[in-house]
């Protein structure tokens, strides 16, 4: 029968796509595992480990990740046009990856890791398999969530200039995000959370400032000549 033949065909198609998904999931698990190692290394930053050494160790995983994303890209290329069919299976892992890369980037440069830079680091730039913009943005929000903790621990360890630097970065980031028209979705919710990070960093900066611990001289200067541009 016609009806039976159609459903028979569907069954084959869906079995195939199930297998594909299986392979994707297994790579996503490996990504998660590599990310976990990276995260573990980075955690030492909160215990005032020396930043360059900590970064060195964490960077070791970038190569691994690059390779894994490569494999993922290959799988996806098997079924052109269906990137977003399977996207849900690696997106949350990727958001974490972005957040860690962006944090490491900030530690090195005090600047934001841009979307294109993130893609490059993961070797995604050339292929048809790119880094989804929303995943990138969510990853950046995740990074922001870690900054208050970082600032608190740096101040405890005696680095009184850190709050000012983080505050400047976060204020700029927050302002940049506000340029986006967000829908009522997960990204929006995450961004809404960023204001609490900002507030907490402001508070720490306040604590430092009111006690005269901040190196007041150049701060006011910096703020004075233009603020969050």
């Amino acid at each position: 029968l016609n009806l039976e033949r159609q459903f028979e065909e569907f069954r084959h198609q869906l079995d195939d796509s199930g297998n594909l998904r299986e392979r994707i999931r297994s790579i996503a698990l490996e990504i998660e595992s590599a990310t976990r190692l990276m995260q573990s290394s980075l955690l030492l930053i909160h215990q005032s480990g020396p930043i360059p050494e900590v970064l060195e160790k964490a960077k070791g995983q970038i190569g691994v990740l690059k390779e894994l994303y490569n494999k993922l890209a290959e799988i996806i290329l098997e079924c052109p046009g269906q990137y977003y069919r399977y996207h849900g299976d690696w997106r949350s892992e990727t958001q974490t990856v972005v957040s860690l890369l962006a944090f490491m980037h900030w530690l090195e440069t005090e600047g934001l890791l841009l979307h294109a830079e993130a893609e490059e680091k993961l070797g995604l730039k050339s292929s048809e398999f790119g880094l989804d913009t929303e995943d990138y943005l969510i990853g950046i929000c995740f990074m922001s969530n870690d900054l208050p903790r970082y600032v608190v621990n740096r101040v405890t360890a005696g680095d009184y200039d850190c709050p000012r630097k983080v505050l400047k970065f976060l204020t700029d980031l927050h302002a940049a995000f506000r340029m986006l028209n967000l829908r009522n979705d997960f990204l929006r919710k995450k961004f809404d959370g960023m204001k609490y990070d900002l507030r907490r960093v402001e508070e720490v900066y306040y604590d430092v400032k009111i006690r005269g611990l901040a190196t007041t001289g150049n701060t006011t200067g910096e703020q004075g000549d233009g603020g969050q541009s």
Binding site: Q13, Q82, L180
Partner: protein, 235 residues
């Protein structure tokens, strides 16, 4: 940072605007497909042709006016990326078009056939929108609910055989979906729909049972083979 973010902003704006338009088209498709379904339910024993003709005309409007809007918005990766935005509309459309088709031909309209009918809507230079298997199946699942309503109504209308035909048809779909539902992309939706579908099957079966035992009580009587309502309509 500002430059990069204005790039992201325009990306998101475009995407959101498109999504907004797709959602809107989807809602229009839903609303108008639902109207087609309501129209089909207005079918009686003696107005079948007119009712179905009107339903098909309405369906053509849905296709030319609303589906075409959707088709124009969607390209390549959008088919899966924006699926959630248009899926409800497409499912409802599948429901409507397969319902009409079943009433006319007594068989299931295939996905390929539906997709073929969409092709003329799109610019020949671009990849045409193709309804995906999960959306088609979710639409078929809802179709069985409407067929149940139809079957109960047709028994009322005295068309017992039509009801029995629906019964066999819905059972067949249920049986096929038993094997397919668990391997679908997001099987969760489908699982609850399977339960509802089984309820629908049993509602039809119970109605057929009820007519059957009533009819068997007077096997000799001429009336027994006739509709109940048939009598009323004649009066």
């Amino acid at each position: 940072m500002k430059d990069a973010f204005s790039k992201y902003a325009s990306y998101l704006n475009d995407l959101n605007d498109k999504r907004e338009r797709v959602v809107k088209a989807s809602r229009d498709i839903t609303m108008n497909s639902k109207k087609v379904i309501f129209q089909v339910h207005r079918m009686g024993k003696h107005n079948k042709e007119q009712v179905l003709e009107k339903a098909e005309k309405d369906l053509a409007v849905v296709m030319n006016q609303y589906m075409s809007r959707l088709v124009k918005e969607l390209q390549g990766t959008d088919f899966w990326k924006l699926r959630r935005a248009y899926s409800p509309g497409v499912q409802e459309y599948v429901e409507a078009v397969t319902l009409c088709n079943f009433c006319k031909t007594g068989s299931l309209l295939n996905l390929d056939e539906i997709n073929a009918s969409l092709r003329p809507l799109s610019d020949p230079s671009t990849e045409p929108l193709q309804i995906n298997v999960p959306d088609y199946l979710l639409g078929i699942a809802d179709l069985t609910g409407e067929l149940m309503r139809l079957a109960i109504g047709r028994i009322s209308g005295g068309e017992l055989e039509f009801a029995q035909k629906i019964c066999r048809f819905v059972r067949e779909i249920y049986r096929e979906l038993t094997l397919i539902a668990p391997i679908m992309d997001d099987s969760w939706d489908m699982k609850t729909k399977m339960d509802t579908m089984l309820q629908s099957v049993m509602k039809i079966e119970n109605a057929c049972f009820s007519v059957h035992v009533r009819g068997s009580e007077f096997p000799g009587s001429e009336d027994a083979n006739f509709s109940l309502l048939g009598g009323l309509e004649i009066e």
